[in-house]
């Protein structure tokens, strides 16, 4: 790498750290720069980024936020919540009229599901298909609607299976091993509960109770990452990123920061890194212009950002970082596939 480029990257890392609410040190900057170098070449991210003209477009970037390029450029439509197929050659996303405000927790009910190639080209509208999500082999999708959970064959567009949705009401995702669903559900009078369901038997168990949402699977299909606003805070409180085993035993915090609501949690394909967004207002920022993205190592968890004195009292073992700052975005997704290879 040319010397100038290295210096520029270090300067950018220092600038990013200096923008963070906590006291930046040279050591912090070096740690962030080391993280940046570590992830920069590990595949690609895709996320929705709000445009000045009002709509959202899909933007491809390296995991350190570099090499950004638009995959879509559609003033009349917003492209939302992209997810690459397991083999990384296709992309599912939702196409929503640009005039609509995207709901941070009901976006799966909005617009239509589109399947395209990995760079969002040759998109085909599949239909409403609410909360459409890839199956592990990429040949089917699961959907969640008033009719229940449906499994749809992508080649024939036929519903091959229908299950009761139990208490699920949003954010249904199929585990990479194909054995489980996770989602947000009503359970026993308590709303906003993360629930895991056995795909074959339909039996379910609680993963995390009380004020949770936006769950997603770890690549090993054994853990679920989700947002949670614990009750042990003053006033409204702040939403934090947590992880728990699918069977619902003890959960642990990954990232928290007072004055920020942490959403959009997702893991890298090898489960070593965590993506999230840091929104100053509740919600993931889809109702506004997104929120600053963040990237950290799972092995560094828990990390507490900012001063956050109350949170640090609750988690004295927490680290300060490093957290790599990403641009303002919403619902990022990560693949290690070189999606640009075929271009």
């Amino acid at each position: 790498m040319p010397r100038f480029s290295r210096l520029l990257n270090l300067a950018l890392a220092l600038a990013a750290v200096s923008l963070a609410p906590q006291q930046a040190t040279a050591a912090d900057a070096r740690a962030v720069e080391a993280l940046r170098k570590e992830v920069a070449g590990k595949g690609f991210l895709v996320a929705s980024i709000k445009q000045k003209r009002g709509d959202w477009d899909l933007v491809l970037m390296r995991p350190d936020g570099s090499e950004q390029r638009k995959l879509t450029d559609t003033p009349d439509w917003s492209e939302a919540a992209p997810r690459w197929s397991p083999e990384g050659r296709r992309l599912l996303y939702r196409r929503i009229k640009a005039a609509s405000v995207i709901s941070h927790d009901r976006w799966g009910f909005q617009g239509e599901l589109v399947m395209a190639d990995a760079l969002a080209r040759n998109g085909r509208v599949l239909g409403k298909h609410t909360w459409g999500c890839w199956s592990p082999d990429g040949k089917q999708i699961s959907t969640l609607s008033l009719k229940g959970i449906e499994i749809i064959d992508l080649e024939t567009s036929k519903v091959t299976r229908r299950l009761s949705r139990a208490g699920y009401f949003q954010q249904l995702f199929w585990s990479p091993d194909g054995k489980w669903f996770c989602g947000t559900a009503n359970v026993g009078g308590e709303l906003w509960t993360i629930v895991r369901m056995d795909v074959v038997t339909g039996k379910w168990n609680v993963v995390s109770r009380f004020r949770n949402c936006t769950p997603d699977w770890a690549p090993d299909s054994k853990q679920v990452i989700f947002s949670n606003r614990p009750s042990n805070q003053q006033g409204y409180g702040w939403t934090q990123l947590w992880i728990a085993p699918g069977e619902g035993s003890k959960r642990r915090m990954i990232y928290g920061e007072d004055n920020r609501h942490i959403y959009g949690g997702g893991l890298s394909p090898d489960g070593r890194y965590v993506l999230f967004t840091r929104c100053p207002k509740d919600g993931g920022g889809s109702e506004r212009a997104g929120a600053p993205g963040g990237l950290m190592r799972l092995s560094d968890a828990p990390i507490i950002g900012g001063n956050s004195p109350a949170l640090r009292k609750l988690h004295p073992e927490a680290h300060q970082g490093p957290v790599l700052e990403l641009p303002d975005l919403w619902e990022p997704h990560w693949t290690y596939t070189d999606v640009t290879a075929g271009k």
């Binding site: 009901r106 009910f109 009078g189 709303l191």
Partner: protein
């Protein structure tokens, strides 16, 4: 001014404020009787008038309430149409700040069934969407068929409701159910909610 603040009156002050000790006794008695008669007739007239006016107001109110109770889609929406009394509010509603949306289960006592496909229980439960909002403003992008003229939920008030059953085939979202321990209960989904009279 409240009654407790009125100065006490001495007997005779009001009845004959202009009388003097020099008037003949017979004239005084006649005058008193005359004034008393006028007072009684006046009071009776005021009472009858007031009663008639109250009767007319109540009738007008009934007419007005009946008119609003059947306004909008209440006669056509859903498969059930009932008039029922809201029994209680089981705790506070959650905020409806535009970020989060939910339905809240309320308990009703059945007064009258107007339309029904099947029996409606004497005590039944209804999930209302975003209950902090007036029913006129409750419809949104996700539930565009909801409405009504109910301004707020108050225990004891009577509502005319157009309902569907079961709730989870018509609504998919967070549900606050503070009666969740009542096993086997059916929860209706409120489509249209009109006011049909205030509680006591």
């Amino acid at each position: 001014m409240s009654h407790s603040e009125m100065p006490a009156m001495e007997e005779g002050d009001a009845a004959n404020p202009g009388s003097t000790a020099t008037d003949p006794p017979s004239s005084l008695t006649a005058a008193r009787l005359l004034i008393l008669g006028v007072f009684v007739v006046g009071a009776a007239a005021i009472g009858i008038g007031s009663a008639l006016r109250n009767q007319a107001t109540t009738a007008d109110d009934r007419k007005r309430v009946a008119g609003t109770a059947v306004a909008g889609d209440v006669r056509t929406a859903g498969r059930f149409e009932v008039t029922a009394k809201l029994v209680e509010l089981p705790g506070d509603f959650l905020p409806n700040d535009g970020l989060y949306n939910y339905a809240f289960v309320l308990k009703y006592e059945l007064l009258e069934v107007h339309r029904s496909e099947g029996d409606v229980e004497s005590t039944f439960y209804v999930a209302h969407y975003n209950p902090r909002k007036t029913r006129a403003r409750v419809a949104d992008e996700f539930y565009s068929d909801l409405g009504g003229n109910l301004m707020r939920f108050r225990a004891g008030d009577v509502h005319r409701l157009a309902l569907e059953l079961p709730w989870d085939q018509h609504y998919i979202g967070p549900l606050v159910d503070r009666y969740h321990d009542r096993a086997g209960k059916r929860i209706y989904w409120a489509i249209w909610s009109n006011s049909a009279g205030a509680g006591p």
